[in-house]
C-alpha cells in the first residue's frame, strides 16, 4: 500500500545562530505531484530542500517520507536512497562514464565492497543487469548514444540528463532538484523542462490505469516561469517584511499542467506569473 502523501513537512523551522531562515513550514507533498518551490534568493528554499535531503537538520519540526515497508511516513534522518537528488553542479561522478554513473547507485544499493571482492562472478552477472537497466534509463532521458562518454566530455544539459537518470533508476519516493537547470542556456533548459513534463505524463498515464504515479518531484528554482511550466503546484516562500523571523509559505496553489509536446504558451505563463507575484510577493507592499 502506498500513502497519498509522499512527503509530510510539519512545523519546520531552521535558524543559523540567531539568523532565522525558515519559520514553521507545513506542507504535504502528494505522490505524483511536481511541486516547485519558488522565492527570492536567500528565502530559504534551498535550506528547506537540504532538510528534505537530510544533509541539514531542522531546528524544529519533522519531515517524513512515506515508507512502503513500514506502511507509514518515516522521519528523515540523514540522506537516504528513498530521496534522489539532482544538484546544479557536481551532479556526476567524474571517474565514471554516463552509463556507469547511472548504474553506480544500483551497485551501491545492491552490493557491498565485500560482496564484489568475494564473489567476482556473481558480481559480473549482476553488473551486466545493472548496465542494462542503466542503458534503458539513459534511452528514456534521451541520451542513448552518449552513454560511454565521461562527464567531462558531456555538455551541461547532457550531464543533467544523466543526473536525472541516475536518480530515477533508484525509483526514489521523491526526486529532489536544486536549481537543476540554472546553469544551462535557454534552449537546453527548455528541453530539460520538457523531459520533466514527460515524467509527469507518465504519472497521468499511470493514474488513468489506476496505478500508483511513479514520479514525485520537488524542484527548487528562482525562476517563476520555470516553476509554472514544470510544476503542477507552486509553493512560494518569502520573508519579505519579516526578515528577522524567517520565511513562511506565502503562496500554495495548484497549477495547470502543460503538455511536453506543444509549444510553450508564454502568454499564459506570463499571466499566471503575474498572479503568483501579486499574491505571493506584493501583498505586504500594497
Amino acid at each position: 500500500m502506498t500513502g497519498r502523501n509522499a512527503i509530510e513537512i510539519r512545523g519546520i523551522s531552521k535558524s543559523f545562530g540567531s539568523h532565522c531562515v525558515l519559520d514553521n513550514i507545513d506542507a504535504d507533498i502528494e505522490a505524483g505531484q511536481t511541486v516547485a518551490f519558488v522565492g527570492p534568493s536567500g528565502c530559504g528554499k534551498s535550506t528547506l530542500l537540504n532538510c528534505i535531503v537530510g544533509t541539514l537538520s531542522p531546528s524544529s519540526g519533522t519531515i517524513s517520507v512515506w515508507n512502503d515497508a513500514k506502511e507509514r511516513p518515516v522521519p528523515v534522518d540523514g540522506p537516504g536512497r528513498d530521496r534522489g537528488i539532482v544538484y546544479q553542479r557536481y551532479s556526476l561522478f567524474p571517474h565514471l562514464t554516463a552509463i556507469a554513473n547511472v548504474a553506480f547507485g544500483l551497485m551501491l544499493d545492491e552490493t557491498s565492497v565485500g560482496f564484489r571482492c568475494l564473489h567476482p562472478l556473481r558480481w559480473r552477472r549482476l553488473k551486466h543487469l545493472h548496465f542494462e537497466k542503466a542503458a534503458a534509463m539513459l534511452e528514456k532521458v534521451g541520451l542513448g548514444e552518449a552513454k560511454d562518454k565521461y562527464p567531462g566530455e558531456l555538455s551541461g544539459g547532457m550531464c543533467q540528463r544523466v543526473a536525472i537518470a541516475q536518480a530515477l533508476v533508484m525509483r526514489p519516493r521523491v526526486l529532489l532538484m536544486d536549481e537543476p537547470f540554472g546553469a544551462l542556456d535557454e534552449a537546453t533548459r527548455e528541453s530539460l523542462q520538457r523531459l520533466m513534463l514527460q515524467l509527469y505524463q507518465e504519472n497521468l498515464e499511470a493514474r488513468a490505469e489506476g496505478l500508483h504515479p511513479p514520479h514525485t518531484v520537488i524542484i527548487v528554482t528562482h525562476e517563476i516561469e520555470e516553476a509554472i511550466f514544470v510544476g503542477d503546484r507552486i509553493i512560494a516562500l518569502s520573508q519579505v517584511g519579516r526578515e528577522s523571523k524567517g520565511a513562511r509559505i506565502v503562496y500554495d496553489e495548484r497549477q495547470p499542467v502543460f503538455s511536453p509536446e506543444s509549444p510553450k504558451d508564454r502568454l499564459r505563463i506570463a499571466s499566471i506569473k503575474d498572479s503568483v507575484v501579486k499574491t505571493a510577493f506584493q501583498s505586504d507592499e500594497s
Binding site: P79, R81, Y90, H95, V113, Y150, A167, P172
Partner: protein, 283 residues
C-alpha cells in the same frame, strides 16, 4: 610574439642540440684538465669513464686470498657480486621497504583523516611538526632509536615522507565535493563504499601526483643516510670513491640514480593514465 607554438621537429632538434652541447662541453673540459694532469679523475675522459663502468659491473677478482680469508666468509660472499648488483640490492631493499611502508600507511592514514575530521584534528599537529623537521638533520636520532641496520633507513624514509603523503591525501579527500558525497549517500552508499568507490577513484590522479612528488625526497633521505653510515649501497660507494677524488665511478652512479628517478616518474605517469582514463578528458 611570446609563447608562440613551435613545430615538433624544431622541438626535437633543439632538444638533441642541448644534449650535444653537454657532451661536447664535457669533452672539452675533460681535455683541458688532462692537459695539465693526465692522471686526473675529477673530470674523467671517456676512456676513464668506460673503465669506471667496468669496475661497476664486473665481478671483483679475488686478488689477495690472505686478505679475503682474513675478512671472513661474509665478505667473500659479497665479493662474488659486482659492485652494481650489490649496491642495487642494498639500496633497493631499503628504498622499497621504506618508501612502500610510507606510501601504504600514508594512504590509509590520509584517507582516514580526510574522512573523519576528528581523526584529522587529532593527528594533524604532530604530522605538521614532523613534516617540518629535516630528516637528514635528525639522522642522529634515528641511529639512537633504530640502530644502523635496515630498520634505520626504513624509519628515516617513513619519517621523511609519510607526513607529506598523509597530509596531502587527507586534503584531497577532504576537498571531495559535498554534493557528490550527499549524492552517494542518496544512492545507498555505505561509509566504506563512499571511500572505496567515490573518494579514492575520484581523487586517484591527485593522490598519484602526491606519491610522485615524494619519491625525490625519499631518495634524498636514503642517500644522505647511506653517505654517512652505510657499508654498502649507492651512498656508500659514492662516499668511498669521492674520498679518493675518483669520479669514474661516481658519475655513472649519479646517472643510474637519475635513471631510477625517471623510471619511477614514468611508471607513475603511465599508472595515472591507465587508472584514470577520464582525467585528461575533463573539459
Amino acid at each position: 610574439m611570446l609563447q608562440s607554438p613551435i613545430s615538433a621537429t624544431r622541438r626535437t632538434v633543439l632538444g638533441l642540440l642541448s644534449i650535444l652541447v653537454l657532451l661536447i662541453g664535457y669533452t672539452v673540459l675533460s681535455g683541458l684538465k688532462h692537459r695539465e694532469n693526465p692522471e686526473d679523475k675529477t673530470i674523467p675522459t671517456w676512456t676513464q669513464l668506460g673503465d669506471g663502468m667496468l669496475t661497476i659491473i664486473e665481478k671483483p677478482v679475488p686478488t689477495n686470498p690472505v686478505l679475503a680469508a682474513a675478512l671472513g666468509p661474509e665478505v667473500q660472499r659479497q665479493d662474488q657480486q659486482s659492485m652494481l648488483v650489490r649496491d642495487l640490492k642494498a639500496t633497493g631493499t631499503r628504498f622499497l621497504l621504506g618508501y612502500g611502508t610510507s606510501v601504504v600507511i600514508g594512504l590509509i592514514l590520509g584517507t582516514a583523516m580526510g574522512s573523519l575530521l576528528s581523526l584529522e584534528a587529532l593527528t594533524i599537529m604532530p604530522l605538521r611538526l614532523a613534516s617540518r623537521i629535516i630528516p637528514t638533520a635528525a639522522l642522529a636520532v634515528f641511529f639512537v632509536l633504530a640502530g644502523t641496520d635496515l630498520s634505520m633507513y626504513v624509519a628515516m624514509i617513513v619519517f621523511g615522507t609519510l607526513p607529506a603523503i598523509a597530509i596531502g591525501v587527507s586534503r584531497e579527500i577532504a576537498s571531495f565535493p559535498r554534493e557528490l558525497r550527499y549524492k552517494a549517500y542518496t544512492l545507498g552508499a555505505s561509509h566504506l563504499e563512499l571511500i572505496w568507490d567515490a573518494f579514492l577513484p575520484v581523487r586517484a590522479p591527485e593522490i598519484i601526483e602526491i606519491v610522485k612528488s615524494t619519491i625525490g625526497p625519499a631518495m634524498v633521505y636514503l642517500l644522505a643516510a647511506e653517505l654517512l653510515v652505510a657499508n654498502q649501497g649507492f651512498g656508500y660507494t659514492i662516499r668511498i670513491f669521492s674520498r679518493k677524488l675518483d669520479m669514474t665511478v661516481v658519475y655513472p652512479y649519479l646517472l643510474i640514480l637519475a635513471f631510477f628517478g625517471f623510471l619511477f616518474d614514468f611508471v607513475l605517469r603511465k599508472t595515472q593514465v591507465k587508472l584514470c582514463p577520464w582525467h585528461n578528458k575533463l573539459g
